[in-house]
Amino acid sequence: MARKLLLEHINVPGINTFDVYRSKGGYAAVEKALKTLTPEEIVEEVKKSGLRGRGGAGFPTGMKWSFLAKPEGVARYLVCNGDESEPGTFKDRFLMTYIPHLLIEGMIVSSFALGANTSYIYLRGEMMPQIRILEKAIAEAKAKGFLGKNILGTGYDLELYVQPGGGAYICGEETALLESLEGKRGNPRIKPPFPAIAGLYGCPTVVNNVESIAAVVPIINDGGEEYAKIGIGRSTGTKLISAGGNLKRPGVYEIELGLSAEEFVYGDDYCQGIANGKRLKAVVAGGSSVPILPANLFLKTINNEARLMSYESLSDGGFATGTMLGSGGFIAYDEDQCIVRNTWNFARFYHHESCGQCSPCREGTGWMEKVLHRLEYGHGKMSDIDLLVDVSKKIEGNTICPLGDAAAWPVASAIRHFRDEFEWHVTSAYEATTRNYGLAHYADPLNAVVA
């Protein structure tokens, strides 16, 4: 069985309460960190662990922490990003619902390491139940002396608050999140300055994903070097993958990075294959923003090597034939799914969620949605396909925040790998409204598709 660092005790009855969590070794990382380590030593352990941000970008957490400015007499903040709105991603909600103290423990250790005395956990507003769960966990931890003034008699003070958003995907982008936490519209800021220099209220701030912060707990307990032994290459440790779509057993799985993609989809310990005896057509491996891949290219790289669930292997082949691990939001599409419809659905999502600050994103996402809608509903033209590629290229790289790229990539990749399906929507427009294109050749052995 694979090692579990985050979800090991997930099935223990009452693990959501302080007492049961503590009886399973919970809050040992707080004791170790506050009583035996200096903030610098904690940052060093996190660096050694090789932990990379679990929110999507995969930026090394220890390095991010070491960039935090420390001017005299200025408050520093740690803000946990629990906005979790990337389609396909539902791991943070799961973690906070079932084992909330793991996040609280991670927040205490991380805040101590960064020298923050007030920290916020920003959750998307729809997570009202999780807000209640976390507030209860915070109250319990505080009552036991793990939060508040003079924690465990060490002289370290920390107040922890949960902040709800208002329903906006863009607030997952870290500077939009900070704007939102300041009570404003979620318009991303122009960088630089980066939050590490000027973040919340203009003060040095670190923003980290829920899972990244939770991972600090096993890193401190076992040591960064031990953590780094798990996984493969620069993809160290374990990762939560939230698997949805047409799977026999969807859900949240903690995997050791480097697990084979095939094992993840078909293995008994994981998703157990495709639901209803269907075949796999396509996969979005890391949340809606990453390039979609046909089944064959997802399971094998272009060099016919087994694809692994790791940052490097998933991006093997670049955007031509690879994708990204992203947030770990895994979506499986069976043979009955229409790629054009799915691409239109995602384009609508990004158009709806664009904050509207940059014209390429605001106008481009709307344009792509409109063109995809007409392709899906049988009014498309052949030239629409290249028009979409053109629009997506004009958005990519030309916006303030990466939402523009995130909107462009799913469209560009769908056309790159499924162009014949788009063309069929034009040449057989009526038929395309009555049936779907099917599996076609998307699961064929690779040498047959890649000339």
Partner: protein
């Protein structure tokens, strides 16, 4: 596009509600009370069912900010209702992962059962429904949520939707 809807009903917050506001404001450094805006708007909506212009004006006054600062926020975020809704607002996820496991048929069924279009309110004032974007429950789709507590209903079928609607009717005493 949403627009702020006016109403003649003046709004004065109850002492209980104001106590909740004060608790929120205490979470931020002095002078940063504007940070309380989103949570306070949630509290207002939970109390009144929606956020009217007078309610926003009262929030602005409470937080010592301009009304426009409240309007621009309330209209940016999708969770705030700028006009009255049904007592139960059924919000169905319509994004990719839910769509491929049958979100559209569920929305069509809800529309048929309630007899109102997306965004409209049933005659008895009990229900509204709308499609919303990804709710981070992609493994358990189709899903819907109902505020103000944002309770989730997962793995929806037409039958489970029917049961939910009749349960809510009973709960409301109809």
């Amino acid at each position: 596009m949403l627009s702020v809807q006016n109403t003649d009903t003046p709004v004065t917050f109850s002492p209980e509600l104001k106590a909740k506001f004060a608790d929120v404001v205490s979470r931020y450094p002095a002078g940063k009370q504007k940070s309380a805006l989103l949570p306070v708007l949630h509290l207002v909506q939970a109390e009144y069912g929606w956020v009217s212009a007078p309610a926003m004006d009262a929030v602005a006054e409470y937080l010592s900010i301009q009304s426009i600062e409240v309007y621009e926020v309330a209209s940016f975020y999708t969770m705030y209702f700028l006009k009255p809704q049904g007592k139960y607002m059924l919000e169905v996820c319509r994004t990719g992962p839910c769509e491929i496991v049958g979100a559209t048929p569920i929305m069509e069924h809800i529309e048929q059962q309630l007899g109102v279009k997306e965004g409209d309110v049933t005659e008895d004032g009990l229900f509204s429904w709308r499609g919303v974007e990804c709710l981070a429950a992609c493994g358990f789709g189709p899903v819907l949520q109902i505020g103000p507590e944002y309770t989730f209903y997962e793995n929806l079928t037409k039958e489970s939707v029917d049961t939910l609607i009749s349960d809510l009717r009973r709960k409301a005493g109809n």
